[in-house]
């Protein structure tokens, strides 16, 4: 999976919980939850969706490491099966 492909997965999941927002406009180091006004339930849903799309298991203690687009991409790319 290329980084671009991963990004389109991330965007698709974010669009599901924040359909009126355009995640493409997010800056790489912007805090996703704050920028898109996503609560903890929705954020968990995004992570579960990404887990299903990429197969990467994300332990709860790592949730904090996926707060920006850059961090999220880095974290997942490094662990892609």
């Amino acid at each position: 999976m290329t980084e671009q492909e991963l990004l389109s997965h991330i965007f698709a999941e974010l669009k599901k919980v924040a359909p009126e927002c355009d995640p493409v406009e997010l800056a790489p180091d912007e805090n996703i939850r704050e920028a898109l006004d996503i609560d903890s339930f929705s954020f968990l849903r995004v992570l579960v969706g990404l887990n299903e799309r990429t197969g990467v298991d994300i332990p709860e203690s790592d949730y904090g490491k996926l707060s920006t687009l850059a961090a999220m991409t880095r974290y997942l790319m490094a662990r892609l099966p």
């Binding site: 290329t2 698709a12 339930f41 992570l47 887990n51 799309r53 298991d57 709860e60």
Partner: protein
């Protein structure tokens, strides 16, 4: 009339899997809009349309793999009205949906509530109820199958209306041009005004040390798959329900000048809508659900609330309310009780705070729990007993 077909994105592309529809039938699209996600052997692509018009019903369901050139949907040049008749017919593609190895099978996107002045999709019972309650169907958003208006929608609309009615003379009349958001804002305004006017609130707050329960939860979550993991707010909610069992006077209604304690604990959980406003749908029998079930129930409720698919009982059944503003970094919540309920429990952000115990100072993860209660129904003593019970239950997470 245009046709939206599975595009050929490369000479070697023979088929594509329609992963997700990003538009709904009846939606106006213009040239260049992204309308679907398609997966190929090369990866996931966003697919655009090349003409303006109105999206017809999907001819291929999400999850289906079809050859290049397959008609996916028609794009009508006409008005929304013409398309509406078409989208009302049942999509027949659902049955052939096959599970995708990459993403879980997408639900066929239900036609969103489409309001047409010609013909509303409305259940017969809801139609009669609307007549009885004086609700104008044209102002109601349907949440039923294929966007049909159901009894629950009418009940919700009527409730908003009832709350408004005491000040109907003062309040500006609902105008047909109002957006649903405006109308919801008006309903909220009416409810809180009435609450503030009629209910003598008293407030109690306490700091609760969550270190132990959160530790326990982290341990518990380690053993759970991502999908089954539980969020801390679930602990708060379950403990609230158990504490209400200990102090039932806070779980009830103030009606006809007396407190009517309710036997079942249905917690109204405030959910902010992305378009603004909030709804407090009820989670039924919270005290009887396991933490896992409660997590599922909340996730399900939040999703359905935001997609406008609440059931009538959920809109009307709450016996008490909980507001959790912790996500937004708020420390303390002073809530407004939702009549005829008699209590609202608020939770702020869970954060590390200095904590003195047995003469020692340490850092603990804490939350501020508040109680807003109706003084006509209970006194501060009962309120204090409740917060004490809440703390007690939270300190025994394994028993929750």
């Amino acid at each position: 009339m245009g046709e939206f077909r599975m595009p050929s994105l490369g000479a070697d592309m023979e088929t594509g899997k329609l992963v997700e529809w990003l538009v709904v039938p009846g939606q106006r699209v213009k040239r260049g809009d992204i309308v679907a996600l398609v997966e190929t052997q090369k990866g996931l692509f966003e697919i655009e349309v090349f003409e303006d018009g109105i999206m017809g019903e999907p001819l291929v369901a999400a999850g289906q793999t079809v050859p290049v050139g397959t008609l996916l949907a028609r794009i009508e040049a006409g008005t929304a009205k013409a398309v509406f008749t078409e989208v009302r017919t049942e999509p027949t593609v659902e049955k052939t949906t096959e599970p995708s190895p990459v993403s879980k099978p997408q639900e066929t996107i239900p036609a969103q509530p489409t309001i047409s002045s010609e013909r509303l999709s409305c259940s017969p019972s809801a139609r009669r109820l609307a007549l009885e309650l004086g609700v104008d169907l044209a102002t109601v958003q349907g949440t039923g199958p294929r966007g049909a208006i159901q009894r629950s929608d009418i009940e919700a609309a009527a409730q908003a209306k009832t709350i408004t009615s005491p000040q109907a003379t003062a309040a500006p009349a609902e105008s047909a041009g109002d957006t649903p958001e405006t109308r919801m804002r008006q309903a909220i305004a009416a409810a809180v005004s009435r609450s503030n006017r009629e209910i003598p609130h008293y407030y109690l707050a306490t700091e609760i040390d969550l270190s132990h329960p959160l530790q326990w939860l982290e341990e518990e979550n380690r053993q759970r798959s991502m999908r089954e993991r539980i969020l801390p707010v679930v602990l708060l909610l379950k403990a609230t329900a158990k504490a209400l069992r200990d102090v039932p006077e806070l779980n009830g209604f103030w009606l006809n000048d007396r407190l009517q304690v309710q036997p079942d604990i249905h917690v109204g959980f405030a959910i902010a809508l992305r378009t603004g406003g909030l709804i407090s749908p009820a989670i039924h029998h919270v005290d009887r659900l396991s933490l896992g079930e409660l997590m599922q129930a909340m996730a399900d409720l939040i999703e359905r609330t935001r997609s406008g698919r609440l059931r009538g009982s959920e809109v009307t059944d709450a016996t008490v309310s909980v507001t959790n503003l912790g996500d937004r970094g708020i420390k303390t919540v002073f809530g407004i009780i939702y009549p005829p309920q008699v209590a609202l429990i608020g939770f702020g952000k869970i954060s590390e705070r200095p904590w003195a115990e047995n003469g020692m100072l340490g850092v603990r993860r804490c939350v501020t729990a508040t109680l807003a209660a109706d003084h006509r129904a209970t006194d501060g003593h009962q309120g204090a007993l409740f917060l004490e019970a809440l703390n007690r239950h939270l300190q025994q997470p394994e028993a929750l």
